[in-house]
């Protein structure tokens, strides 16, 4: 798999590593508390209400689009919008009484200044927002956030763009949400990725901009865990945002691409409560990553029945059988896409007849996306030699032991005969 050379480049000391392991040992489980009791929700409701009232008195920042107008233009009526608001309330695991507050918060999205950085990646998360066929409410809501700076989307370039970033960072100091898309290459002193006229490395860029952010949101698998840039042999020494940004509230929204529904969820939660949502040990919001895909999969019954697609296009595939033998990683992937799906519930990977590749888990490209069952996964033998499947390696081990036993047995038999001969 990947080599460990980047750990030195990253300046990770032994103490850091021990701290990391400690954190994992003592981390809270993925357990999701879906009902925290009436007293808790009443208090939260009042806090949120006060916050919403306060936000209403503020003027919108730069984005003067009014969501009611935009929704109308896109042909979304009030009823559809309220249906969406109640679905989001459910997704955030709040009682139904919060629905009007969530709707209000969505209308106030342009009060949240957002700076969006684009690092080592394919811009797929931005694409996921932009290229949807006919924007759905999730995408519309993201349209009206006050996006102060977005390297991929903005018209400005060069010094002009840098000036824009400086202005945004100064104006909204300690208030802006920093969204980061893409991994951080650390190899060769970060020279694998530079940005702007000054040739600032991605690493320096990220540290500078994150310094005065209210919170950092890593969007997509590259920004969260290094993703595809960090896949073996990781030539650029890419790591995720959480490996370099320390001492800031950090939220990971992995998946390839991250689901716009979950981005909206996190921003809404922030606007509503002023806090980051409850996170699991990998800093992913529990409302989105607290459940296993497998447990909410529409093909789960076929898994239990032992009905599998054996090859693409066979009878099983035509009958929507389970994709486990085609390498589906739903059983070890935590994500809500089997529930909320993509593009406003239109479809999701397993729904279109291909397995899950575990895109919301760390190291997904090397350890999940090989489209075979785990037993056939290629692993590196301990000597670092040729890659073998797990079973080939195991069978090799058994064969070696068998040969050893065989040699000993034959030698014993021959020696035993000699001994007998001597005695006779």
């Amino acid at each position: 798999m990947n080599d460990y050379s980047y750990t030195e480049e990253k300046g990770l000391t032994m103490a850091d590593r021990i701290e990391g392991v400690k954190k994992l040992f003592t981390s809270k489980s993925a357990r999701v508390e879906t009902n925290k009791g009436d007293a808790y929700y009443e208090k939260l409701f009042q806090t949120c209400q006060a916050r919403i009232e306060e936000l209403k008195t503020q003027t919108p920042i730069n984005n003067r689009l009014d969501i009611s107008d935009v929704l109308e233009t896109q042909g979304v009526n009030r009823r559809d919008f309220m249906k969406w608001a109640s679905a989001v309330t459910g997704m955030l695991m709040l009682p139904a009484s919060f629905t009007p507050l969530v709707a209000d918060a969505a209308l106030l999205m342009n009060r949240a200044p957002v700076i969006w950085l684009e690092l080592s990646d394919c811009a797929g998360n931005s694409e996921a927002l932009l290229r949807s066929d006919g924007p759905k409410i999730d995408e519309i809501v993201l349209d009206i956030i006050s996006l102060e700076f977005h390297e991929t989307l903005q018209a400005a370039s060069g010094h002009q763009a840098e000036k824009q970033l400086e202005d945004a960072m100064e104006t909204f100091k300690d208030k802006y949400l920093l969204f980061v898309e893409g991994a951080v290459p650390l190899g060769m002193d970060g020279q694998f990725g530079t940005i702007g006229a000054s040739g600032e490395t991605f690493h320096e860029h990220l540290l500078r901009v994150s310094k005065h952010a209210a919170a950092v949101v890593a969007v997509g698998s590259c920004a969260t865990f290094g993703g595809i840039p960090a896949a073996a042999p990781n030539p650029t020494g890419a790591v995720g945002v959480m490996d370099v940004v320390k001492g800031k509230p950090l939220i990971n929204i992995p998946a390839c691409p991250a689901n716009p529904a979950n981005m909206v969820g996190v921003i809404l939660h922030y606007i509503l409560t002023g806090q980051v949502p409850e996170l699991d040990s990998l800093l992913r919001p529990k409302f989105a990553f607290g459940y296993r895909i497998h447990d909410n999969c529409e093909r789960r019954a076929h898994f239990d029945a032992g009905e599998y697609v054996e090859e693409w296009g066979d009878e099983g595939a035509k009958n929507n059988f389970c994709l486990y033998k085609m390498g589906c990683k739903g059983p070890m992937t935590f994500n809500n896409c089997s529930i909320v799906r993509y593009n406003e519930g239109v479809n999701w990977p397993i729904g279109v007849g291909r397995g899950c590749i575990g895109c919301s888990e760390p190291d997904f490209w090397d350890k999940y996306a090989y489209e075979r069952p785990m037993a056939d996964a290629k692993i590196k033998a301990p000597t670092g030699g040729v890659e073998k499947t797990v079973d080939e390696f195991g069978l090799g081990l058994l064969t070696a032991a068998g040969i050893g036993i065989g040699i000993h047995a034959v030698a014993s038999a021959v020696a035993g005969k000699k001994e007998d001969g001597g005695e006779a």
């Binding site: 195991g394 036993i405 030698a411």
Partner: protein
């Protein structure tokens, strides 16, 4: 009994019962585990799903024998220290006496029984260490297995209460970073590492069994003391003129 021999008791009834329970559990665990890792036989296309609960039954069998393994492991861990018959831990402490005996047994094996400079009447250090390795492997399988099991209890609920998944997280979450360390990869440990390590450990255990069976048969043939009978009748025979 052959003249000039005496019978020596080596395994109590409880020990033998645990041994054969483990044999049964292991065969079932390997057969079902291989199916879970990669379903190697197919169900009949024409049968309705209601009639063929194949993966579910395999998982049921796997989890059931895992629980039996859990219980025998607790018993063995207890007997290891507190058995009134034979406290095995005394044989694995690396003191001079045990290390000398361990070496002598290895010499006996590699010289094909030309040299036999230890007392084969009692349990020896070599086998005690070898059995300990087995139980450590088994313990590792239990912790990694329960870690994979608790992944399915994401809601924090179970049929016996919320304490069960909570406890499983507390006692098995450490296997995630440890497995990731074994498999290698990026800076963040993954759940897949636990699966890969669980699967490879199965092969280590099968390899362990291969040598175990070979060695007990070899002892029986070369020592001529009926060692293979220990696990059936509980005793072996040694020459009295020794």
């Amino acid at each position: 009994m052959k003249a000039g021999h005496k019978q020596v008791k080596r395994m109590t009834g409880a020990m033998r019962a645990i041994h054969w329970t483990n044999v049964f559990s292991m065969i079932v665990a390997v057969a079902t585990g291989l199916y879970i890792a990669h379903p190697y036989y197919q169900t009949f296309m024409a049968d309705g799903a209601v009639d063929k609960y194949v993966m579910a039954w395999n998982r049921w069998g796997h989890l059931m024998v895992a629980i039996i393994f859990d219980v025998t492991s607790v018993l063995i861990a207890y007997l290891f220290f507190f058995s009134r018959f034979e406290k095995s831990y005394k044989k694995v402490i690396p003191n001079a006496k045990n290390m000398k005996e361990f070496g002598a047994v290895v010499v006996n094996l590699v010289t094909l029984n030309r040299k036999k400079e230890f007392d084969s009447t009692h349990a020896d250090s070599f086998n005690s260490v070898y059995f300990l390795i087995f139980h450590l492997l088994l313990g590792w399988m239990l912790f990694t297995g329960l870690q994979m099991y608790v992944q399915g209890l994401g809601s924090g609920q179970s049929s016996i209460g919320t304490w069960w998944p909570t406890m499983l997280h507390m006692v098995t979450d450490w296997t995630i970073p440890v497995s990731a360390w074994m498999v290698g990869g990026g800076p963040t440990a993954t759940l897949m590492d636990v699966r890969i390590v669980h699967h490879i450990t199965m092969w280590l255990i099968i390899t362990w069994v291969a040598f175990h069976i070979y060695y007990q048969v070899w002892r029986t043939i070369f020592w001529k003391e009926g060692d293979i009978a220990i696990v059936v009748g509980g005793s072996k025979f040694v020459k009295t003129d020794k």
